[in-house]
């Protein structure tokens, strides 16, 4: 162990940042916005966060963290418990094992990768929701949500990068 107690505490706090950001985004994204029709197509900020940190600092988003973030998203958002937990654990695994594809490449590669991952996650959520409800569900809101999520990704990735550069390095 290196450094004084205060230094260690500081490092722990910094290392908890990706988790803390993701959890804050879970709460933020379920707050009512009072905009007609927005709720169902709202961008999936949590997915952006888990994706970003899994690419850049995978050691700070453990599988259990991804699970906990997803579970909180389920409980606060009203999706069946376990559904988003499952998706985020899988997203993290896929991104971490394919990490080399993204790291050090241009942002466009990262964005393209995110759009694929978000597409996969959205499809899985749709299929799981239909399985859970045991009936067919209109996929259109999910598609709008995917488009909005992908469109807003550069903005949030920029914010995460700022946090990463100023606090984590």
């Amino acid at each position: 162990m290196t450094g004084t107690f205060a230094q260690r505490l500081d490092r722990i706090a910094r290392n908890l940042l990706p988790l803390a950001i993701s959890i804050s985004l879970v709460v933020l994204s379920v707050l009512p916005v009072y905009l007609p029709g927005y709720g169902e197509v709202a961008a999936n900020l949590v997915l952006m966060s888990v994706f970003y940190w899994s690419v850049h600092r995978p050691e700070l988003i453990a599988p259990a963290n991804a699970f906990a973030i997803g579970l909180l998203q389920d409980v606060l958002g009203g999706t069946p418990p376990g559904m988003n937990a499952l998706l985020l654990v899988l997203v993290r695994s896929v991104v971490v094992t394919q990490g080399r594809v993204f790291r050090g490449k241009s942002f466009l590669v990262l964005w393209w990768g995110f759009s694929l991952v978000a597409m996969g996650a959205g499809l899985a959520l749709w299929v799981l929701s239909m399985g859970y409800a045991m009936t067919s569900i209109d996929p259109m809101p999910g598609m709008f949500r995917w488009a909005l999520t992908v469109a807003l990704f550069p903005l949030f990735a920029g914010l995460f990068a700022r946090v990463q550069n100023s606090v984590l390095q």
Partner: protein, 287 residues
């Protein structure tokens, strides 16, 4: 030692992922089976988060109110005119209602009629919207401590919103009438025919199980029938928006996407032949 540790760590992590995936599936199955433990755990998490969300959602609500106020100020004159006209019309209705109430009381006395059970209301603030494209629900900042329990109807002054599907100590979740899992026993007012209002995640839920010979036209009012004892009878639900190939669609009276306050109705109804859980009729999906 270090050389061994790295592959070992990877192995542990792989097992962790497998374990978590299985745990997620197990949770989904348990919640589908409405296991008490899972429900209670979820309510506990909501209870912890609800006060935080309550505080955080206030700025958005205030902003919403400010915009609404500004809009009202702009329309003050026309609004005033409209209200005057409406007031005159309502006074006429009040007269009619008084007369009917008297008549009703007299007829009840003649028939030795048993009055409907009284309902008790709990007001609550909406602190959370549904998270995602495939659910329609809301989180409220009132729970068992305030008298909210699972199964209660949720209303506003305009009409029915949904029903409580889970209640924690300080928070509860409402399943909206537009959700794919929502089934509400209703009456189409003009024909007095019974039907089920089934949500399908669109803004316009469908009327199903109508008797074959019923004539329904756009504009007909739909109210709760009270069958099953979950919803009090006579709550306004919506009006028929369209009748066509896509089925009979109902436009809810309540604007479900911009709600800030709702009331839950504690109704002790008389259970009829239809099972208590209105989620049930499995045939509903085939329609």
């Amino acid at each position: 030692m270090l050389r061994l540790a790295v592959p070992l760590k990877a192995l542990v992590q792989r097992f962790a992922v497998l374990f978590l995936v299985l745990a997620a599936f197990a949770l989904m199955l348990l919640s589908k089976a409405e296991t008490v433990v899972v429900e209670r755990a979820a309510s506990t998490i909501s209870d912890i988060a609800a006060p935080i969300m309550d505080v955080l959602s206030r700025p958005a609500a205030s902003l919403n109110e400010a915009i609404e106020t500004a809009r009202n100020l702009a329309n003050l004159r026309t609004e005033n005119e409209r209200l005057k006209r409406e007031n005159a019309r309502l006074l006429a209705w009040q007269e009619a209602a008084r007369r009917l109430a008297d008549q009703n009381r007299a007829l009840h006395a003649l028939l030795d009629f048993k009055p409907d059970p009284q309902s008790r209301y709990v007001s609550a603030r909406v602190v959370g919207d549904s998270g995602g494209a495939f659910v329609r629900s809301m989180l409220l900042n009132a729970g068992k401590r305030d008298g909210v329990t699972k199964g209660q109807a949720v209303v506003t002054g305009d009409g029915l919103v949904g029903r409580i599907v889970s209640a924690g100590q300080w928070s509860s979740r409402v399943l909206l009438i537009t959700d794919i899992n929502s089934r509400v026993p209703v009456i189409v007012e003009s024909a007095r025919d019974r039907a089920i209002l089934a949500g399908d995640n669109t803004n316009l839920p469908k009327l199903v199980f109508l008797p074959g010979n019923t004539v329904v036209k756009p504009g007909d009012h739909v109210i709760t029938s009270g069958d099953g004892g979950v919803f009090p009878p006579g709550l306004p639900v919506g009006r028929v928006a369209s009748v066509g190939d896509g089925g009979i669609r109902v436009q809810p009276f309540v604007r479900l996407d911009s709600l800030e306050f709702v009331r839950t109705v504690d109704y002790v109804g008389v259970s009829t032949a239809i099972p208590e859980d209105d989620e049930a009729p499995p045939e509903a999906d085939k329609q």
